[in-house]
Symmetry: C2
Subunit: 410 residues, 2 copies
């Protein structure tokens, strides 16, 4: 911990991470593919290694989009309120074109400008959704591209996560945790992931087979029933494009997830981790649901941000995803709050406001019922203290998670 990894060790980690990202357990870059990378300033080492690894696998072009939170901060400070919903059309067109060309898309997650937006009113933050674009959901739902969200460790993010360490020590610590989470210390990281994928897949098949009518989350501050659809299909990491390219959309991934019934969500839920969205942080979020809609939102910090988000469109106040995470998750065991959804959502069970993934239902009837929206915001509601019970249509109750452990053999 005392020695900086700026030398050989860091270079090896960057290279190992990048190889994993482009490999067949990651986004699975194909020869001849155009590969998009979305990243933030400070992630240069990672995006360059990912680009190099993609070209080595035969990518025909690697196209980088760097979005800078500091420029967004100037916008939020100075630009008139009415202009904040504007999104330059070319970024959405870029995603659509990448989809039409059957490209690959890699988003390096992590927030180098974490905390930067603290002086901005949450209402303004909630209107400016850049760099989130609805076109990414369009292309994803049409299964045109193989895509991945995966961590891009960088100094700014590390400094905010571990404020008591020096900048170099904080970055070392972040890399250590990311290396653990990404299983880079295993003799064969890709093989370790294949094994975990097999476990998650077994859980997903088991849950689908149970044909549950609803889930019941219970614990401190939470008593929430989430209805499921007759066709709700539990999914784990593995995905496939329309053209037949298999890929893993999130790495790390520790979750199984499905589409809830957007009109049958009732009760009260308390977030178990802070939520970082659009550069703002929401602390101690509580949401009350009635017949599927989030009708009341409160928080110790950032409630306005959530209120602005759920006003985006009619589906934004309803659920598009419910996901279960067991205590095997390395992220959950670390206990670090990364302030980054990709990592935090894989620490604990969670729900998402906004769009559902069409492939989380099995039939056209259910597909017509799942939630639609231009947003998709995950927030964590699980912990070892929260029990999850499956409810069957005939009134049966099946314990699913207790103390973070599956209550059936996997």
């Amino acid at each position: 911990m005392s020695e900086s990894r700026n030398g050989g060790g860091r270079v090896e980690l960057v290279s190992s991470l990048s190889d994993l990202i482009v490999s067949d357990v990651g986004v699975n870059v194909q020869a001849g593919q155009i590969v998009g990378i979305t990243a933030a300033p400070g992630m240069e080492a990672v995006w360059r290694a990912v680009a190099e690894a993609a070209y080595r696998r035969g990518a025909s072009y690697v196209d980088l989009w760097v979005f800078d939170g500091h420029v967004k901060h100037s916008r939020l400070t100075h630009a008139p309120l009415h202009s904040l919903a504007y999104r330059p059309p070319w970024w959405g067109e870029r995603y659509r074109s990448l989809g039409a060309l059957a490209g690959a898309q890699i988003r390096l997650a992590g927030e180098p400008a974490l905390g930067l937006m603290e002086d901005i009113a949450p209402e303004r933050l909630g209107i400016d959704m850049m760099p989130r674009l609805p076109e990414t959901l369009e292309v994803t739902h049409a299964r045109q591209w193989n895509w991945i969200v995966t961590p891009g460790p960088c100094a700014g993010w590390a400094a905010r996560l571990y404020p008591d360490l020096t900048e170099a020590a904080a970055l070392d610590r972040l890399w250590e945790e990311i290396a653990d989470i990404m299983r880079l210390g295993e003799p064969d990281p890709a093989a370790a992931w294949r094994e975990r994928f097999a476990q998650l897949d077994a859980v997903a098949r088991r849950l689908t087979a149970l044909k549950l009518d609803a889930l019941h989350f219970q614990g401190p501050g939470t008593d929430l029933r989430v209805g499921l659809l007759p066709g709700s299909l539990w999914q784990s990491a593995g995905d496939e494009t329309a053209g037949g390219i298999p890929f893993t959309a999130n790495l790390p991934t520790e979750e199984v997830f499905t589409a809830p019934d957007p009109v049958r969500v009732d009760g009260h839920v308390r977030a178990t981790r802070p939520l970082t969205v659009g550069g703002g942080t929401v602390v101690d979020l509580e949401v009350h649901f009635l017949e599927g809609r989030a009708v009341e939102v409160s928080a110790r910090q950032g409630a306005g941000l959530v209120e602005a988000m759920i006003a985006t469109d009619p589906g934004a106040a309803r659920l598009g995803e419910v996901a279960l995470v067991d205590a095997e998750s390395r992220i959950g065991r670390l206990g670090t709050v990364f302030s980054e959804t990709l990592l935090d959502e894989n620490a604990a069970s969670h729900i998402a406001l906004g769009a559902a993934y069409p492939d989380t239902v099995s039939d056209a009837g259910s597909r017509a019922q799942i939630n639609e929206s231009s947003i998709h915001i995950d927030f964590m509601i699980g912990s070892p203290e929260i029990s999850v019970t499956g409810l069957t249509a005939d009134g049966g109750q099946l314990p699913l998670l207790r103390d973070g452990r599956w209550q059936f053999a996997v």
Copy 2:
């Protein structure tokens, strides 16, 4: 020189430079305008200050494109030759949209990855023209946007320019030279530029009034006649969009320039400074012209790069610009070779292969004759040792530049 400027002094320079760039002597950002910035990793401090200054002037959105030479290096190392001419269509569309929206465009010039491409064959370098895009010329020629090319000082560039200095001292040195060149040390930098613009404007009007038939460059290794068109109009810095927004397209600017006759360029020319293009460097370039075409190219380094460039399209081997620079240029006096066209071209008289600017001729007849191409590559042919003489249609000879000084009152 011994004290690093990372403290207050640097911040002031960044702020002063950025204010100048967006001001009415620069790109002249308008309230409500969308502003594009093109930059490279390492220029964060400058692009953030420019974005902040643009929003303070009322910009409605500032849109950043960061192009990374290291990713390009991976492409040039690994991608198949046939793929290297590919340009993702969305970048050209972004420029076209910015033009259609009557936006502003700021390119921060400077090469943080200078020297990076030394291990790439010049022929490959010459095919991959990214991030140069023909759409920028389209939008510029249609006068849809107010645009500027201006320096973006950064550590990587500084380290290559002053290899004997530490990284911090090199960056200090670069900022000192840029501050001098940009007249940031003047009590009112904008007023100092207005005065220089007035001088250059007077020279341009004088040259246009002379109605020259050709220019004759003579000196060591150079004996070149460049024919002019009946409508050749000498221009200086000031420009204006179709919508009537005045702006300065290059800052610094020390040149007067016009469109040559693309079929009347004859003789031999030796470049007086190295030329950096597409990440490669061309040293001791010599070009022989016959009836307007570059028919023979030689160089101590990088001749293949120029040969690939002039094969781009039929106009790429002909001249689109001839520019005269006097010894009043602060860049010429510094003597530093910046390996960046914006600065080096304002150190010395130069010519450009490729497209002409339509507003450098006065009538439709001449406009039909000027050169067309998708490229525009300036290279320096002037120095105090090179004399420039104006030739009139009736055989008269008028000395224009001797020892770097105008031979008429300005």
